[in-house]
């Protein structure tokens, strides 16, 4: 088998079990250099769990995770809580896991558009500012794999679009592979190469064009009211039971 040099992460039929419950199961996922992969799914669908598998924070209960760990990883977690007892300004926060120099810090802050916050205490930042700082920190050491877990939290609509533009710029600049987690498909569409819909397992996947031109997509996004839930019903070969298990639909 030929080894793909551009392959950063390869998940094969991966599952994570906690107690008797499977958080995710049967996930296949590949991330290449220079590719933006988006994971979408409702709350509790295993998006963050999948991200943590990709990052190596948790180990799979079944299946295989292969990671090219030599490339450096940047991570924007879903939540980072900075306690009052912890004095920490943006500049020191940038150097959390890497001993990067001041020029690199400035370059990253500049790219994320938060240069002016360099000396601010992390605790005093607004939600949107903090997201941008997290993004700047994740890219500061120029990693080849970047994982963004809902990077648009606390960001208003215009800010959201700006952040997606920024993510695209980062991809072009660093030619990095990016795993983006979102529950908001219609904004992500424009800036992603591949979409995976997750709901405990992979419901569907493909390029955004394929997904967007599909009948299901129009059904999903034509009617605003049903869009959030309906996304996950588009491949009608199975139903989700209340206890989270999946029932395959019988042929009629």
């Amino acid at each position: 088998m030929q080894i793909n040099k551009n392959l950063l992460v390869d998940l094969t039929n991966v599952g994570v079990q906690r107690g008797k419950r499977w958080l995710v199961r049967g996930v296949d996922l590949k991330i290449d250099l220079g590719e933006i992969l988006t994971l979408i799914g409702p709350n509790g669908s295993g998006k963050s769990t999948t991200a943590k598998l990709v990052l190596g924070i948790i180990n799979p209960s079944e299946g295989q995770v292969q990671r090219n760990t030599t490339t450096g990883i940047g991570y924007v977690p879903q939540t980072v809580k900075i306690d009052w007892t912890l004095p920490l300004n943006v500049r020191r926060f940038m150097r959390l896991t890497n001993s990067i120099n001041l020029n690199q810090i400035h370059a990253a802050l500049d790219l994320a558009g938060v240069m002016h916050l360099e000396n601010e205490q992390i605790r005093n930042l607004s939600g949107g500012e903090f997201q941008r700082v997290l993004l700047a920190r994740a890219i500061s050491a120029k990693p080849k794999l970047i994982v963004l877990d809902e990077p648009m939290q606390g960001v208003d609509f215009n800010g959201e679009i700006a952040i997606y533009e920024l993510i695209k710029d980062i991809r072009d600049e660093l030619s990095a592979g990016i795993l983006l987690i979102s529950h908001n498909l219609h904004i992500v569409m424009a800036s992603t190469d591949k979409v995976i819909c997750l709901n405990g397992h992979v419901c569907c996947s493909g390029t955004p064009k394929v997904v967007a031109s599909s009948k299901e997509y129009k059904e999903l996004f034509g009617v605003r009211a049903v869009k959030e839930l309906a996304i996950y019903e588009h491949s009608h070969d199975h139903t989700h039971l209340p206890d989270g298990s999946v029932e395959q639909q019988k042929e009629t």
């Binding site: 924070i57 306690d83 007892t85 912890l86 004095p87 300004n89 959390l96 360099e118």
Partner: protein, 275 residues
């Protein structure tokens, strides 16, 4: 200069305070106050063992503290008890076991009070040597692992994702806490060690804009508490260990006084230092 018992006490106390500052910051940041208590309570068992085997107290306190820390890790992984309750169980069981072990030692008159509340005025030159050699090792390792340990403190998963070996540094940190407890037991006693770790760190918080700054200020506050505590103990003939802790508490009270001018001054100072 080491002939005078008071000088020795001062030097011992200052040494312990310098080491306790940075580690105390991590205990505060990681919300491990109760953990520090557990380790220090358990160290009485180490004291009893050292007397029974006629060996070095510091060494045995360090060994017992390490064993308690390891069993805590194991029990946490196995048992369905919350970490909080588990600490309570271990802290007081080991304290009780230590007291009972000491009660078996009938051939030497053991002054339990000196272990509970410290006996800094009885510090000998070999004690000083232990405090400074042990303290240098603890402080040196703390400086070496500072960045990854701090990264894991801010956000465990973020640090782990970006390649920090969390388990290793958590384990080393536990050894460091065991080490600082072992060298402090003579100075403030096992019931008051946590105070010497936590109070200077929290006092330093208000005057700090960065973690490294807070660690250094915590050491300075600790040193100040030791000096003022020992002198007031000399002046008013009060027990030394508790006097040191009480001075630290007074410094803490001063630090939370709502002197707004002072706060604004520090704010300006901080922004000047940073920019």
């Amino acid at each position: 200069m080491f002939d005078d018992f008071f000088t020795r006490a001062l030097i011992a106390g200052i040494g312990v305070a310098i080491v306790a500052g940075p580690l105390g910051c991590f205990i505060v940041w990681r919300k491990l106050a109760y953990y520090g208590d557990t380790i220090s309570h358990a160290s009485l068992l180490g004291v009893a063992l050292a007397i029974l085997l006629n060996s070095n107290t510091t060494l045995f306190v360090f060994i017992i503290a390490t064993i308690i820390a390891l069993s805590l890790l194991l029990l946490q992984a196995r048992a369905n008890v919350s970490a909080d309750s588990l600490l309570g169980i271990l802290a007081h069981s080991s304290l009780a076991l230590g007291l009972i072990s000491l009660s078996f030692i009938t051939w030497i008159r053991v002054d339990i009070m000196s272990f509970l509340f410290g006996d800094i005025l009885a510090v000998s030159v070999p004690d000083l040597l232990i405090i400074y050699v042990g303290g240098s090792i603890v402080l040196g390792i703390t400086v070496i692992i500072w960045r990854p340990l701090f990264a894991g403190t801010v956000d465990m998963e973020l640090a782990k994702a970006e390649g920090v070996n969390i388990r290793l540094y958590d384990f080393v940190f536990m050894l460091l806490v065991a080490g600082v407890v072992a060298i402090s037991i003579k100075v403030v006693g096992l019931l008051l060690i946590t105070a010497l770790l936590i109070i200077p760190a929290v006092t330093a918080r208000r005057f700090s804009s960065g973690p490294e700054q807070m660690a250094i200020i915590a050491s300075l506050v600790g040193v100040l508490a030791v000096i003022s505590g020992l002198f007031s103990s000399l002046e008013w003939d009060t027990p030394s260990g508790p006097s040191i802790v009480l001075s630290a508490f007074c410094l803490f009270l001063i630090s939370i006084l709502p002197i707004w001018g002072l706060k604004a001054y520090y704010y300006r100072l901080n922004s000047k230092l940073n920019g």
